[in-house]
């Protein structure tokens, strides 16, 4: 790199830095967010659990409700219960994917029980983050009423609590309501080349 290149680069980076600092200075508010991870790609739940571990790293109290038992291995649950039981509560509801159970009435009852548990956790202002893992599947099949869930988040969520909702096919009403929405898009998947689900990757 010539001296001129380096000077040009430094000037460009200084402009980016100044613009970034102006932008950050305009952001003053802090509030608990409603965060959605949706889409057919991978990483929706992994990113949710990544946020939970980051909350734990900050010493923030938090909780997880898994709406679909069997959707994930129990690895995260074991790790959290073994190392961080004082910071993170963990509840697994449901009986497995709907195509495993073939019993709609039981799935509905499990979803409702999960939501009742979730409401109690979200109402507790000591908890700073609550992950509702795979709740979008229960909402999509109308096992839970989307209007009821949104009214609860609007009226009863403490202002500083973050609630993270994951699962594909998030309802449009939830996307409208949320503060932060990320869609995980599948670009390429090894299942298509005959590779099976593996520890550490899929579960």
């Amino acid at each position: 790199m010539t001296g001129e290149d380096a000077a040009e680069h430094a000037a460009k980076m200084a402009r980016i830095k100044a613009a970034r600092e102006r932008m950050m200075a305009q952001r003053q508010d802090e509030k608990g967010l409603v965060i959605v991870h949706t889409g057919s790609g991978k990483g929706k739940s992994s990113a949710g659990f990544g946020m939970i571990f980051r909350a734990i790293a900050h010493g923030m109290r938090c909780a997880v409700v898994q709406f679909i038992k069997g959707a994930r291995d129990t690895g995260e649950r074991r790790l959290i219960e073994a190392h961080f039981p004082h910071l993170c509560r963990f509840h697994t509801m449901g009986e497995g994917f709907t195509w495993e159970t073939q019993d709609k009435a039981r799935d509905i009852a499990a979803a409702r029980a999960g939501w009742d548990k979730a409401k109690g956790l979200i109402r507790d202002p000591a908890l700073r983050m609550v992950l509702l893992d795979e709740i979008n599947i229960a909402l999509r099949y109308d096992y839970l009423d989307i209007a009821e869930v949104l009214a609860f988040l609007r009226d009863e969520k403490p202002p500083m609590t973050h609630v993270v909702l994951t699962g594909r096919n998030a309802k449009p009403e939830l996307i409208d309501f949320a503060d932060l929405v990320t869609e995980m898009t599948l670009v390429k998947h090894p299942f298509r080349s005959g590779i099976k689900a593996q520890a550490g990757v899929e579960f």
Copy 2:
């Protein structure tokens, strides 16, 4: 739900279950994957760290190289070093975002040092997963040579090791080469409504 509805539902779910079982039976191979999280949305690094915590939960040895210091808070690092130093090694390279340093030569040197460290970790067959956090930024600016990185992954990565590469603007050559690629797409972001970066969400 009437009895007929329930019977119809059960039959439909049984068909889905049978199709799923046929599909899973065709997937026999297990191998270490090259996994990319890219896109301008959130969750790329969080999902990477979620995978690292899941690997830890399975007792799999793993490692993290952070290519951009200051891109993230040190929360995950503190948590891993305090609780799981026997399972996960952690290295932070670099001096911060390029617009913070304004020194291209130093950034290049930091990226190269990070890649040298990464190569040593990936070569160690005892490690089952290596996260190269934000390496895509170093590749995008050609601080690292994409051809060299791909040749190394092809020729020297042990067959069972998963390597996860994160960061926006993944190079097309990397996407072509990878086994599993997810694009995190920004649907909605609270910065746009004046909300500042917050602990547990952004860092």
